[in-house]
């Protein structure tokens, strides 16, 4: 992946025990993309929220899509957004 660094934001319900899922996804993205991400922002929220956006574009919402996102979905969005294709 040679494109521009992208920012990932993970908004999770801090009153629902979603920290493990947020941390697992964060860790996976850190290992997969490293410095090719400009930042990973974690936002504690409420109301059963689990949302992931890449450069401001929502790629997963628990309310919209149901459940937690797979790493593959988020990784794919990062590659698409960065313009780096599928090679990382």
């Amino acid at each position: 992946m040679t494109g521009k660094p992208v920012k990932v934001k993970i908004t999770y319900c801090a009153e629902c025990g979603y920290e493990p899922q947020a941390l697992d996804l964060t860790k996976a993205l850190m290992y997969e993309f490293g410095a090719r991400l400009s930042a990973i922002e974690l936002v504690p929220w409420e109301s059963g929220t689990f949302e992931v956006s890449v450069d401001g574009q929502l790629v997963h919402s628990m309310k919209r899509d149901g459940g937690f996102p797979t790493q593959a979905v988020v990784s794919s969005a990062i590659r698409t957004r960065s313009g780096g294709g599928s090679s990382v």
Partner: protein, 199 residues
């Protein structure tokens, strides 16, 4: 899964649960301090003809646990015949499966009332419906009063940080303002539950 004495004894007492909390301990204590037990609630439980066991499913990260378990805890301090044992939801999924919210959600807290012989008498889950409804109404009002918050149905993800912080403060204030109502509603539902099953 059968609840028996051996399993029951593995549950934590209310005080043991509080001591073992890894987060929200301060909020929990604050909520406990401000619980105003309705004399009608105390009277209802005090007049029950038998000792009740209350199995609780909980986790210390859960907002509804932090809000509502202290009410049961305070009540149990007043009513010696109310025996409370708390089980961590995520370590007792076989218990959780028995009392799913709407048959599918692992909502907590769950309060399950048993008689002395572990015969289930009734259960209570998460929070009163009236509280959820009132919160939804108040939430709509907040969004209506603050167009910068956008749609109440839109992902919060898209809000600028300063706006999101203001929204969070408004929502927290709304919940704080509703504590009295919410606590009264929890007590009303618990009174109605045990009154219906009292033998």
């Amino acid at each position: 899964m059968t609840l028996d004495r051996a399993r029951w004894d593995k549950g934590l007492t209310y005080d043991a649960f509080k001591a073992a909390m890894t987060r929200n301990q301060e909020r929990f204590a604050q909520n406990e301090d401000r619980v105003a037990l309705d004399p009608e609630t105390v009277g209802t439980f005090a007049s029950l003809p038998q000792r009740l066991r209350v199995l609780v499913l909980a986790e210390d990260w859960c907002g509804d646990v932090v809000a509502n378990l202290p009410i049961l805890g305070r009540l149990a301090k007043e009513i010696p015949t109310l025996d409370v044992r708390i089980f961590y939801r995520d370590q007792n999924l076989d218990l959780m499966e028995r009392w799913l919210n709407q048959g599918k959600y692992q909502s907590i807290p769950v309060f399950v009332f048993f008689d002395e012989n572990f015969r289930e008498l009734g259960h209570w889950i998460e929070r009163p419906r009236t509280v959820s409804e009132r919160r939804a109404e108040e939430r709509k009002k907040i969004f209506a009063a603050h167009p910068e918050f956008g749609s109440p149905d839109a992902p919060v993800d898209g809000l600028p940080e300063d706006v999101r912080t203001r929204l969070q403060a408004e929502l927290q204030k709304m919940r704080e303002d509703m504590v009295g109502f919410a606590n009264a509603e929890v007590q009303r539902e618990l009174r109605e539950l045990v009154s219906a099953v009292a033998v």
